[in-house]
Symmetry: C2
């Protein structure tokens, strides 16, 4: 088992990475506030992992509430969040109850926000079961639900007590989701870790073949990057925004098509290529750099062109982005491969041209 730490003073917490961790409740027990837990999962992950996980917790004397949500980004909304509150209140879960998110990014984001809001805050633990959630969304305390007018618009910064990434769960992940997760892995290389980008390029075939050692290495190095950024800037006043490379374009795709049409990682992949193209137009990347960005995503089986929404619609959707400040759109772009910046330097004409070049 590999263990990292997210350093946030009194709210610091460990990330355990390894194979078969789900079977060992001993890893979870030290992080509970009482003997009451609520395990929240969805209709896809539940049938695979819920029963043995809950049985193991009950064997240790815990009282467990089970809540199963509908699957998918389309359900990352208030009515589904309210199913969690209904379940917790129906079972009289009190303030000492620890919520455990068992699933991918959508489950983790929703359970995190439910934990932040239930009785004004209860502890929670992330047990991410997808590559995307293991390398990105389970770490760092960003929680949210969507609003019809924008993705992740309603949420909280709320840190888990523990992240438990069981590499074995990646064995049941559909190919398309594995690839979507790789988009966020690649992102760390692009924004701040050139040696990691080199490593990914050298090991991409092993990752696609689900080599356990390669996956554990990718998860660890991704989480290490994420933990460093989050420790330096928990509430995204600065550097943390660079983790959103490709996300402003990507969110426009997700919102424009309706949530759930493209996977988040797929939208981020296309968005990263668009950001690279825009960076080239600002004179920061070479043609070869852009091709490198395009090529690694293509090799990972990810989209390298945006959805054909039309540039006007992209610009309209991007204007709703959370990174808009005082009316100005800020974008995460690349000064070089391995070095992201947050900038308002791109003109609307440049952004439009980059969108048109990549759709």
């Amino acid at each position: 088992m590999r263990t990292l730490s997210v350093a946030l003073d009194a709210r610091s917490y460990p990330i355990h990475i390894g194979t078969g961790l789900l079977a060992d409740p001993g890893l979870i027990l030290p992080y509970l506030k009482s003997k009451r837990v609520a395990v929240i999962t969805n209709t896809v992950v539940g049938p695979l992992y819920l029963a043995p996980f809950v049985a193991a917790l009950r064997e240790r004397g815990l009282r467990v509430t089970e809540i199963v949500l509908p699957d998918g980004e389309a359900h990352k909304d208030w009515p589904t969040l309210n199913l969690i509150f209904d379940g917790l209140l129906g079972d009289r879960c009190d303030r000492s109850t620890t919520l455990i998110a068992l699933g991918g990014g959508v489950v983790g984001d929703m359970v995190g926000f439910a934990a932040a809001s239930y009785q004004r805050g209860v502890p929670f633990i992330q047990v991410p079961t997808t590559l995307l959630s293991q390398v990105d969304s389970s770490v760092g305390g960003k929680t949210a639900i969507n609003h019809p007018l924008g993705k992740n618009m309603i949420g909280a910064f709320y840190q888990p007590r523990l992240v438990l990434a069981d590499i074995a769960t990646l064995g049941t992940l559909p190919d398309r989701e594995l690839k979507a997760g790789l988009a966020e892995v690649i992102k760390y290389g692009l924004i701040r870790d050139l040696p990691f980008l080199d490593w990914i390029e050298a090991n991409l075939d092993r990752l696609l073949a689900r080599d356990g050692e390669a996956l554990a290495e990718a998860v660890e190095r991704s989480c290490r990057n994420k933990a460093e950024v989050v420790a330096a800037d928990e509430t995204e006043q600065g550097e943390r925004a660079t983790l959103n490379l490709g996300h402003t374009f990507g969110h426009a795709i997700e919102t424009g098509l309706g949530y759930g049409e493209w996977l988040h990682g797929e939208a981020v992949a296309a968005g990263a290529v668009m950001a690279a193209e825009l960076s080239r137009r600002l004179g920061w990347l070479s043609d070869a750099d852009v091709e490198r960005v395009r090529r690694i995503h293509e090799r990972a089986g990810l989209p390298v062109k945006g959805a054909a929404l039309g540039a006007d619609r992209y610009l309209e959707l991007m204007a709703h982005d959370k990174k808009v400040s005082d009316g100005t759109l800020r974008l995460v772009l690349l000064k070089a491969i391995g070095r992201a910046v947050i900038t308002s330097e791109a003109s609307t004409a440049d952004i439009r041209a980059a969108i048109e070049a990549c759709c």
Copy 2:
């Protein structure tokens, strides 16, 4: 103008108390993050104060979004909260937008939770226009909405940047709401400030006659008590729970009758008498003490008996209270007049007897 401070390190903020403060935007400007604000009020307070307040802000060059909610505790729910998000997103309010709550406790609680959750957190300012919100709910960062299974079950601890209590707004307050506010004023005397209780008893007629100086004094001394408690225990790990004297019984009344039937302060008044009666049964208060508690609420025109829900229903509703920890109901009771404690010492039989004696 009287000014107090809530001492919470980097998140400390002032409370300004005075007459006519609403007309002076200069008090608000230093606390804004940008020139964008959203003023959120309801259909009762809006017609009285919204137009001149917004006009004054616009004169200072601010861009103002106006959102008017339906009035009342019955609307302290998700659909109404979502009206705030709809308004903010529809007007493209970004992360630098400051939300201003103009209204009573329900508006303040909802705007606070909206501010905590919108784009994972934007600044907010409380402009309480009722006695109850000026002396209690606007200070201390408790924000929430109700759930059909319990009051204030979904929310956040989220502090405002500024509280502006304009005593002039109490001039338009219905008598019933003024009296409901007095329940929380009396509460500070009962739980921790015997000299203040003596002062209230001596000045109750002036308060009921809306004497401006007496009201300002009551608001200041109440806020001073609240600020001290919040500074010592922001997230209610201990002492802060004593502010909930009468609230566990009171919430049962509010939930049992349906939100909005009794005013919150009315339910708290009856609840405080029930808590006093229960304290007597534990041997902590004398018959005369209980009579003193009953008498001051009665003089303030407040209910001194609970709603006739039946003891079983009270106990059932109280089991949902947020102060339940690991299955045990904790109550705020009085060791003496002026000294509250949080205790699990009361047996169900005692609680039942106290309920039956007070309904």
